[in-house]
């Protein structure tokens, strides 16, 4: 994920230090995408309120995916939304990270047996940090953002890399009774 090479490359002095510096900058200036889906989005807003104030750590919302670094999936993702979500993820400029917030985004939560619910957003996009809760507290979201900060700053060596998921839009929409894909 690093700009100047992958993590498998042996660390050399100059590029390694530069890469560390860039990862440090990336980890300290994560701009999330304004993308609220359900009740978790209310807690997401509360994370930037005076009491928690995630802006202390240099994080503020960008509205356009091109300028955002982190996508916070905050709520139930159904199969119709999945395609849009993946599209937004694809529109974000590299490097990019995803935080899955709440039970619904993690594995479908209480709605996981519903016909229209995606059981876990990690089936669509690679997720870096998961937050349990229904919905989680704002502090929990801040904890997840800081865990992501540590992960980026460590050049992801200590952590398992999220698997790359191909952008196959067709698998995200279940065929209808007539066997054809719904028109989205």
């Amino acid at each position: 994920m690093g700009l100047l090479g992958s993590d498998e490359r042996p660390r050399d002095v100059i590029l390694g230090t530069l890469d560390d510096l860039i990862n440090m900058a990336r980890s300290r200036s994560m701009w999330p995408l304004t993308f609220g889906i359900a009740c978790c989005a209310i807690e997401m807003m509360a994370t930037w309120d005076p009491k928690i104030d995630a802006d202390r750590f240099g994080m503020f919302f960008r509205n356009t995916p091109r300028q955002a670094d982190v996508m916070i999936v905050s709520g139930t993702v159904n199969k119709k939304l999945a395609k849009r979500l993946r599209r937004l993820y694809d529109q974000m400029a590299e490097p990019k990270w995803v935080i899955s917030m709440g039970a619904c985004a993690n594995q479908g939560g209480p709605f996981r047996q519903g016909y229209s619910v995606v059981e876990g957003v990690d089936k669509i996009v690679p997720v870096d940090v998961y937050i349990p809760g229904c919905p989680p507290r704002p502090e929990a979201l801040l904890q997840a953002l800081l865990l992501l900060r540590d992960k980026i700053a460590d050049r992801e060596l200590r952590y398992k890399k999220p698997r790359e998921i191909p952008a196959d839009y067709d698998v995200m929409a279940e065929p209808g009774k007539d066997g054809r894909l719904p028109v989205l």
């Binding site: 940090v129 998961y130 349990p132 809760g133 502090e139 929990a140 952590y159």
Partner: protein, 189 residues
Amino acid sequence: MSLLQEVWQAVKAIGTGMATVHKRVYEEAPTEFYPYVKPELPPVSVQSLALVENEDGSERCIVCLQCERACPAQVITIERHRNPEGKGFLIDRFDIDLVNCMYCAACVEACPVSSIVTIQDFEMSTYDLQTLKADIDFLHEQARRARQWYSPKFGVELRTDDGRIEKAPPEMQPGGLAEILKPAEEVDS
């Protein structure tokens, strides 16, 4: 003249607004410095679940399956077998899928012996979802880490420094001090 009055009104309104905004600068911010200072949550706040053992280390849970039946999200899986030496059941497996859990505490309400309790540990974010598939060891560990927990039957309980379990004083109980002290005050007056 009315135009001038309107302009004056507008200028006055903007001036008032700007003065109000400027006063905010001197207000003290209510910010909690979360990663440096861990916030104190009210004891009834449901952030995670735990399974409490007795003080002697024996299981408080009687494996009655009430919580499994009560769970609306169906995240509790319990397997048991009959105790060969005596009455009751023994636990084979007690899993709570904390990923899909709604944290509604219906299981805590249902538990007849207050074995399954709510704790205030909100720092459960993880890099790997498998850490949240809680088995009985993890649930016990959660209970041991917790300083205080809540169940409707016993109220708030505390773990003291030497490992004993105590019922919390009345002012810590939910709706506590106000409800308990109210009759006394009425008697006084």
